[in-house]
């Protein structure tokens, strides 16, 4: 649910990075944070455990520039990936405008990917959304690993709707900004479509 503020001439949108545990959601945000000009970003918040697993969420506010005199601000959130943090995941999806699903390309994580995708669909439904109706991008992360599953297979299993998707190596930053741009564009196009 975007927020249009005529007083400060700002539009604020919420993007959530979803995916199984250790797939690289936080790494995506860390890369964006590192590579963004200081004046365009706010503080990155990570509510993590001592072992650096996301406990509640990571949060990164970003300013992308102006459209028709309105500053566009995106709030990026990640969810905790581990199965038992489902209650937290539900809460973070509240008011979401666009979703990135980060899949772990390692063949042994395919079941975890599928489980997380099902979980995303269910939790969105709980909040009154349908995955088919919101801006949605899929990222196949860790493509460089030797045990990565074939891309065709991943697309078939995780992207049957054939939404925009990207191969990525979040640790080096490959594919990270492409993914962000695609989902941000989707959100803005959606705003335009809904305004008509």
């Amino acid at each position: 649910m975007s927020f249009i503020n005529y007083s400060s001439r700002e539009i604020n949108c919420k993007i959530v990075y979803y995916g199984p545990g250790l797939c690289g959601k936080t790494t995506n945000l860390q890369h964006i944070y590192l590579k963004t000009n200081p004046e365009l970003k706010g503080k990155m918040i990570s509510l993590a455990t001592e072992t650096e697993r996301t406990l509640f969420f990571d949060f990164l506010p970003l300013a992308l520039g102006q459209i028709r005199g309105f500053k566009t601000r995106f709030h990026l959130y990640t969810v905790p990936g581990q199965v038992f943090y489902d209650a937290s995941r539900k809460l973070i999806l509240k008011g979401v405008d666009g979703v990135v699903f980060v899949a772990d390309s390692q063949i042994e994580r395919m079941e975890a990917n599928l489980e997380s995708m099902d979980n995303l669909r269910i939790n969105l439904k709980d909040q009154g959304y349908e995955l088919e109706k919101i801006p949605f991008v899929v990222q196949y992360n860790k493509r460089d690993l030797p045990n990565a599953a074939p891309l065709d297979e991943m697309k078939r299993l995780l992207n049957p709707m054939n939404v925009i998707d990207f191969e990525a190596r979040a640790q080096t930053g490959e594919g990270v900004f492409e993914t962000l741009k695609a989902v941000a564009k989707g959100v803005l196009s959606d705003l335009k479509r809904l305004s008509r």
Binding site: F3, N5, Y6, S7, G42, L47, A87, A184, L188
Partner: protein
């Protein structure tokens, strides 16, 4: 149920600032923030310079969401009032108008009793105000309000031209 898009005009913002500016004074507080439950900062008043209000908004919404989850576990609908006591500054957090959160920062110049009393009054005023905003949004629909109705694909592409 999914919430609709929130649109605030200058007049709405001015009225919100009027209410929370008065709350700052009447409660002897340091600062007041209005945040929506999705983590967006709506307005701020008082001595708020130096406070990262974007982070404050996101974390407040997260905290309200988490304690709301806790409430349901023990069979409560919600915990509408939260109080965090620090060594110097304290936080008083309440939910208003179903989707908004009112955050008051205060120190030894005020007291919990006074803050509670003033927040109650301000909460009623904000509730009325946000009810009007909601009703207007329902009657207008998103088309009348959005400045995004006639943006072009080029406008969007230009944002990403680096």
């Amino acid at each position: 149920m999914m919430d609709s898009q929130l649109v605030l005009y200058e007049e709405d913002h001015r009225r919100i600032l009027g209410v929370i500016g008065r709350l700052v004074r009447e409660a002897n507080s340091k600062g007041v923030f209005v945040v929506d439950k999705n983590g967006q900062l709506i307005a701020e008043a008082g001595e708020v310079r130096g406070i990262d209000s974007t982070s404050l908004a996101s974390l407040t919404a997260g905290s309200i969401a988490a304690t709301g989850g806790l409430a349901k576990i023990i069979g409560e609908e919600d915990f509408p009032i939260h109080f965090h006591q620090g060594t110097r500054d304290n936080l008083h957090i309440t939910t208003v108008a179903r989707r908004m959160i009112l955050v008051v920062i205060f120190d030894e110049r005020s007291s919990l009793g006074l803050v509670r009393l003033r927040v109650k009054k301000a909460g009623v005023e904000l509730e009325k105000l946000f009810d009007e905003v909601r009703k207007r949004a329902e009657s207008e629909g998103s088309a009348a309000a959005s400045p995004f109705a006639d943006i072009t694909d080029d406008d969007i592409d230009n944002l990403f031209a680096d």
